[in-house]
């Protein structure tokens, strides 16, 4: 929204007393950095553009990253890149960027353009800016990005960047992005370690390359001809970060032999980092004890605490330096009643600890596949909780349970997800991995894919079709597990009008011309109870007279088909969530009409999903029933044929037409 106040202020102010608004805290550019394009840049700029660049807007001709680690394990990263702009949209790649936050600094950021006609232009002070991390209204972050925009970035130009910045002192790993949006001709990573310091390297999504030891302790990896990764038009595909090639070098505690040992070391480091953060205060203990008083069983005890955290602690991120990884003390979180995922895990662990239940941190990523077993690292964006389940405790409601290598069982719970009940996991976490920080059990754990019955929707629709084609009726939907959690989020995040609009919009996409007459949520107090959404609708011209025929689509509402196409598939297929969806629709037919023909119904059975539907007439009522079960969340590309067969059947079934005739 335009803030005219500022406009006028500036306008009038300028008239009244012109003022230089030069930001003078510290310059973003130092005159000592002024100079011509370095030789390495000039040399790399001569690299020919590869023959196959696809639709990429630019190509990375050369990238060199050198990480120098000192005796204390502190690292400095120098990065040099040379990129040719190929197309207009490639201009946005023609910037030089460096990040810093509290406790780190940018030593150098320089950028040049070599224009198509050979001129050299350097980004000088007017071309350099700095941006805070303020885009998200629920975040307080001290991270900053410095951007140098070399002039003259047009197709044909080559952009040369050089930066140097320090690592946070607590970070002892380098995550090297091997694959980018745009193709790469050649790129290298060098890690220079002090004498005697070990390192460990792992690769994900890219064939490992052997390092050359340039000098003792100085290792160099080089990768050539890396294709760009553009997933935008590929349907049902995992997240980009789960697909791109990357490599990690460890030089701290996790620089040990074997991925299992590395994961263990990372978990142990995380545990140490968060040590004592959850220590409960007397106030926290009193609250926890009050919450669990009279709880009849272990599950109830846990769920009273989990729902308290989910409901009463606002999600608000405060990240300052190491605060990106380290939680605030439980005392502070409890006082403010807000925090981010680390804080929510901390207060959960604290409250549980206060009533004698042990729980631990698990770092995860909200995109399945980003954390992968073969690549131990701190890559991830979220923290959740693992709650120790006592021996002999086998409550069927505790579904998201994993077993540590000690044999201990852990209930995995995401306290930041403010609506998905204890006992199950949000769909985005299922089938992924997490780094458990739990003493001897520290290490990688596979997060379970829950059985289909833990999630889904039961839908019953009862409609009446009038002779003029108007369909009217009531739909009752009951949602369990993560699907129910999503609906609870809708209630949480919207007001009444927004909810109405959202529901009517969704219905309108499926039933053109629909009017949402009424809707009602039946939301039980406890998250582990199914949530119900009932609504009544009217849709004119839903049934359509065509000569002697009268056509009606028995499937009225509730699309289940996932996006698919008919192209050859090389990437995995993301199914999003396991679950079970069952639907019964009955449509009372108008007087004087009988059924002439019904669709055949569908029947697709695979090991990852099944879909069945049937149509019948019972007296004056047309009945449609379908049952859809998804058992897996990710398929290999080889299963594309089965996936298409399934989705095609669902689409055809959802569009199928029943034919009525006047009797």
């Amino acid at each position: 929204m335009l803030n005219r106040r500022v406009e006028w202020a500036v306008a009038v102010g300028m008239l009244a007393a012109p003022l230089m608004l030069r930001a003078d805290n510290h310059s973003l550019f130092s005159s000592k950095d002024k100079g011509p394009v370095p030789d390495w840049g000039l040399t790399a700029a001569k690299t020919a553009t590869p023959a196959r660049v696809g639709t990429a807007g630019s190509v990375l001709l050369y990238s060199e990253t050198v990480v120098t680690v000192d005796e204390q394990g502190h690292a400095v990263e120098r990065e040099r890149t040379v990129r040719r702009i190929l197309k207009p949209q490639g201009r946005e790649d023609g910037v030089c960027v460096a990040w810093y936050e509290e406790g780190t600094r940018i030593n150098l950021l320089r950028g040049w353009t070599i224009t198509g006609d050979g001129r050299q232009l350097q980004a000088l002070e007017p071309d350099i800016g700095e941006f805070g991390d303020t885009q998200d209204a629920i975040m307080l972050s001290t991270e900053r990005t410095r951007v140098a925009r070399p002039p003259g970035v047009d197709p044909g130009a080559v952009v040369v960047c050089e930066s140097e910045s320090t690592f946070p002192t607590y970070i002892h790993e380098m995550n090297w992005r091997v694959q980018h949006d745009s193709p790469v001709v050649t790129e290298s990573l060098e890690v220079d370690l002090p004498a005697g310091r070990h390192h460990a390297e792992t690769w994900r999504g890219w064939a490992a390359v052997k390092a050359a030891e340039v000098h003792p302790g100085h290792f160099r990896w080089q990768v050539d001809n890396v294709p760009g990764l553009d997933l935008r038009l590929i349907p049902s595909v995992p997240a980009w970060r789960a697909m791109n090639g990357r490599m990690t070098v460890q030089w701290g505690d996790a620089a040990v032999e074997g991925t299992e040992a590395q994961w263990h070391a990372i978990g142990a480091w995380m545990e140490q980092l968060e040590a004592h953060k959850p220590d409960p205060t007397a106030e926290i203990t009193a609250k926890a004890q009050a919450l669990v008083a009279g709880a009849p069983d272990f599950y109830t005890k846990l769920s009273r605490i989990s729902e308290y955290v989910q409901r009463d602690f606002r999600y608000f991120i405060v990240t300052r330096g190491i605060g990106g990884l380290q939680a605030h003390p439980a005392e502070q979180i409890y006082r403010n009643r807000y925090g981010d995922c680390k804080d929510k895990s901390t207060i959960t662990i604290s409250l549980l600890q206060a009533v004698g239940v042990t729980a631990h941190y698990v770092f995860v990523d909200t995109d399945r596949g980003v954390i992968s077993p073969e690549n131990p690292s701190l890559v991830g964006n979220h923290m959740i909780t693992a709650i120790e389940v006592p021996e002999g405790e086998h409550d069927a409601r505790l579904r998201s349970v994993v077993t540590g290598r000690s044999g201990k069982r852990y209930l995995i719970f995401d306290p930041t997800n403010q609506r998905t009940p204890l006992g199950v996991l949000p769909a985005y976490l299922q089938g992924g991995y997490g780094g458990l920080a739990a003493g001897g059990d520290s290490g990688l754990i596979a997060l379970p894919v829950l059985e289909a019955t833990a999630n889904g929707t039961e839908r019953k629709g009862k409609f009446t079709l009038a002779a003029d084609g108007t369909l009217a009726g009531l739909v009752v939907t009951v949602h369990t597990g993560p699907v129910g959690g999503e609906l609870r989020y809708l209630i949480k995040e919207t007001d009444e009008k927004q909810r109405h609009d959202e529901i009517e919009h969704r219905l309108g996409e499926e039933i053109p011309g629909v009017t949402l007459e009424s809707f009602k949520f039946v939301e039980p107090e406890h998250f582990d109870q199914p949530i119900e959404l009932d609504y009544t609708v009217t849709a004119r011209q839903y049934g359509r007279a065509m000569g002697a025929l009268f056509l009606v689509r028995p499937h009225v509402v509730g699309e289940l088909a996932a996006a698919f196409d008919n192209k050859p598939r090389t990437l995995p297929i993301e199914l999003e969530q396991s679950g079970h969806w069952h639907e019964v629709i009955s449509i009372a037919l108008p007087d004087g009409f009988g059924v002439d023909e019904l669709p055949d119904g569908a029947n697709v059975e695979t090991d990852f999903a099944s879909y069945r539907s049937s149509y019948k007439v019972d007296g004056r009522t047309l009945e449609y029933e379908r049952d859809f079960t998804v058992k897996q969340v990710l398929l290999s590309a080889e299963r594309a044929g089965d996936f298409r067969r399934l989705e095609s059947a669902i689409v055809a079934d959802e569009r199928a037409t029943a034919v009525l005739k006047k009797q």
Binding site: M1, L2, N3, R4, E7, W8, A9, V10, A11, V12, G13, M14, L19, L21, R22, T55, G57, K87, G90, L121, P126, D127, G129, E130, F131, G132, L140, P151, V153, D154, L233, R314, R335, N336, R337, Y338, K492, E493, T494, D495, E496, H505, G508, P512, G513, R540, Q541, R544, M546, G547, A548, L551, A561, N566, E597, D600, S648, V651, A652, R655
Partner: protein
């Protein structure tokens, strides 16, 4: 055109010094406020403002804001976090105080020090943000906070009172004391509900008290928010009435325009060369238009930086001839270059500054040319009016690829100021008509016995939609435009049918239609034992009909431009199937505004369907919304017609 670069600054800080709160006196909550669980005046609201107070004194460069909010649902808790942006070195924000009061009366003061975060920083300015979040918020809490804003003595800072918020406001009080240090007049533009009035006392203090202000509207196809929200804009002016302002300021603007587009011998010679052989003024105007269109329009490519200009030994263009020589300019530069070229071949032509309709609505009661500024690109919105064949023809040479004789929709149906033979006058531009904006979609599809289809679609576009894709291609390149076009296709094709753009025709042309050729394939027909059903047209998915959600409307509907959509699809039927029933021809209309017609015919084994929709309106007032919605609902339902084929081979 040379312009004051400080506007850059203004653009950068737009939306920043925002709903900070300041309360003069923290009043204790009433028992009713504490007990409130829902607000009958704002049914279903997530939160309501109990009080909003804003006091500005431009003599002491001071503003105080005070806010009290009642949280009614989980969503309302989001108001506990406050982000207040400000321009460093101009403003400071201080004395932030806040507290959360639970419904039992217990109080939790804000103890965490507000953070100062960088938003962005450049050589010229730095924008910061104060952020704080109130503690221990729960549903039922009352949130209170106050804040003080100060600015330097060298600044005068008349406020804009944002009377309407995103949430219902029970009571708001605003005061403003104007500065004594600037002469002239203190003007204000009120957009207020009935009965609300700004009062001015003898001491020069303005006040406004309002109650029960509904939440600001957020509606599909709504006009720009800043044109419809309740607010009062204050400003200082040397003029006391709009007639004087637009007359004298208009004269100055016209003089600047004429100076920039002034006579130049070399430019005139070049212009004469360009129009050689053209017999009419229109033919000359077209040739010059094409010449300007061929230049680099930096609105869509890249503006040269200071560093680059210095390297190239170039200076900022001061005259049209500079633009001509550099072969490159911003949209307003190019518009004025075109003006100069027209004039140099003897065609009467005038500049017109307009408000970008995507950003606002021209208001003559605001005495400012800033209304004509494109905030996205930092250029002035200029169109050219040429007298051709005795008629005023509106032209948009600053919009690369805009067809001769048409305007970008952002400049069409827009108000502004134009030059005339006698001086200047306020005027409006014509709209984009349904004849100017035509989308034609044809497809020839061969249907197989299993219901699958294959064939080719051709989509031709003229007017604003063609311009949109062409501008995208300029900015992002053809490949990226294809990617985005394919996204768009996904939205208009039914599930199961896939289309991927083969190629564009006319993507880099100004005066022809844009055509996209799209191979189509996939599963379109659905089968029963005896029949196959085909959707009426392959181009209308169920998911893109407007006006589904809202049964009523607070603001006018603004669809930006009128348009015509013509579909023709030929289905070649599979062997063994014959047409059993075709949908009856249908007509729906919104009298005077829109018409929709469908017709289908079968000949041998080909079924041809036609669907035409012409919409000849741009804006419809809320009072007519019901009819509009009804029309679109009928249209949505009518689009679901099917062709019924019978299996003839037993």
């Amino acid at each position: 055109m040379p312009r004051s670069r400080p506007w850059m600054l203004a653009v950068a800080v737009i939306g920043l010094l925002l709903p900070v709160s300041v309360f003069a006196q923290i009043q204790p909550p009433t028992p009713e406020e504490l007990a409130m669980k829902a607000d009958p005046k704002a049914p279903g609201a997530a939160a309501v403002f109990l009080n909003y107070e804003e006091s500005t004194d431009d003599n002491i460069n001071f503003e105080r804001i005070s806010v009290r909010i009642k949280v009614l649902t989980e969503k309302g808790k989001e108001l506990a976090t406050v982000n207040a942006g400000y321009l460093k070195k101009v403003f400071t924000i201080s004395d932030i105080k806040g507290r959360t009061i639970h419904s039992d009366g217990s109080i939790y003061p804000l103890e965490v020090k507000p953070e100062t975060l960088l938003v962005n920083k450049s050589e010229e300015f730095e924008v910061n943000q104060k952020v704080f979040t109130l503690p221990n918020v729960e549903v039922g809490s009352i949130l209170e906070y106050t804040m003080e804003v100060h600015w330097g003595e060298e600044w005068a800072f008349p406020p804009t009172w944002e009377v309407q918020q995103d949430y219902f406001v029970h009571k708001a009080h605003f005061t403003f004391v104007k500065t004594k240090y600037i002469g002239g007049y203190t003007m204000f533009l009120p957009v207020l509900p009935e009965g609300a009035k700004v009062k001015e006392d003898l001491a020069g203090r303005f006040t406004l008290d309002v109650t029960d202000i509904p939440a600001g509207p957020k509606e599909e196809y709504g006009p720009p928010e800043n044109a419809v929200r309740y607010r009062v804009i204050f400003y200082y002016s040397g003029y006391s009435n709009k007639e004087d302002f637009w007359k004298y300021a208009g004269e100055r603007w016209a003089k600047n325009v004429n100076r920039f587009a002034g006579e130049d011998k070399k430019l005139a010679e070049d212009a004469q060369g360009l129009v050689a052989g053209a017999a009419t003024d229109e033919a000359k105007a077209r040739k010059l238009y094409d010449a300007v269109m061929a230049l680099d329009n930096t609105d869509f490519s890249r503006r040269k930086t200071k560093t680059e200009l210095k390297d190239l030994h170039l200076k900022e263009a001061r005259k049209a001839t500079d633009i001509w020589n550099q072969k490159s300019g911003e949209s307003d530069d190019l518009a004025l270059l075109y003006l100069a070229l027209l004039r140099s071949v003897g065609i009467k032509a005038y500049a017109m500054a307009v408000t970008d309709r995507g950003q606002g609505i021209f208001n003559p009661n605001i005495f400012s040319f800033y209304q004509f500024q494109d905030h996205r690109r930092d250029v002035e919105e200029i169109v050219v009016v040429a007298e051709l064949g005795g008629k005023d023809v509106f032209l948009d040479p600053g919009q690369r690829y805009c067809t001769f004789g048409q305007l970008s929709w952002r400049h069409a149906f827009a108000g502004g100021i134009r030059q005339t033979e006698k001086g200047t006058e306020l005027a409006n531009t014509p709209g984009v008509t349904y004849k100017d904006a035509v989308m034609t979609r044809t497809a020839g599809l061969t249907v197989a016995a299993d219901g699958s289809v294959s064939g080719t679609a051709r989509i031709t576009l003229s007017g604003p939609e063609a311009l949109r894709w062409r501008e995208m291609a300029l900015t992002d390149g053809e490949d990226e435009t294809k990617t985005q076009f394919n996204h768009w296709l996904e939205g208009i094709l039914p599930e199961g049918v896939h289309g991927e753009l083969g190629h564009f025709l006319g993507l880099a042309e100004t005066n022809s239609v844009l055509m996209a050729v799209v191979p189509l394939s996939g599963q379109l027909g659905t089968l029963t034992g005896q029949r196959m059903f085909l959707p009426y047209t392959v181009f209308t998915s169920r998911k893109n009909h407007p006006f589904v959600e809202d049964a009523t409307r607070m603001t006018a509907v603004d669809m930006h431009f009128a348009e015509t959509v013509k579909d023709e699809v030929d289905y070649t039927l599979p062997e063994g199937y014959a047409v059993e029933t075709l949908p009856a021809d249908a007509t729906e209309s919104l009298p005077q505004h829109a018409i929709y017609k469908t017709a289908a015919v079968a000949a041998k084994n080909v079924v041809t369907v036609n669907r035409n929709m012409a919409r000849n309106f741009v804006i419809i007032e809320p009072g007519s919304y019901g009819q509009l919605r009804e029309f679109y609902q009928k249209l949505a339902a009518a689009d679901q017609q099917q062709i019924v084929l019978t299996h003839t081979e037993k």
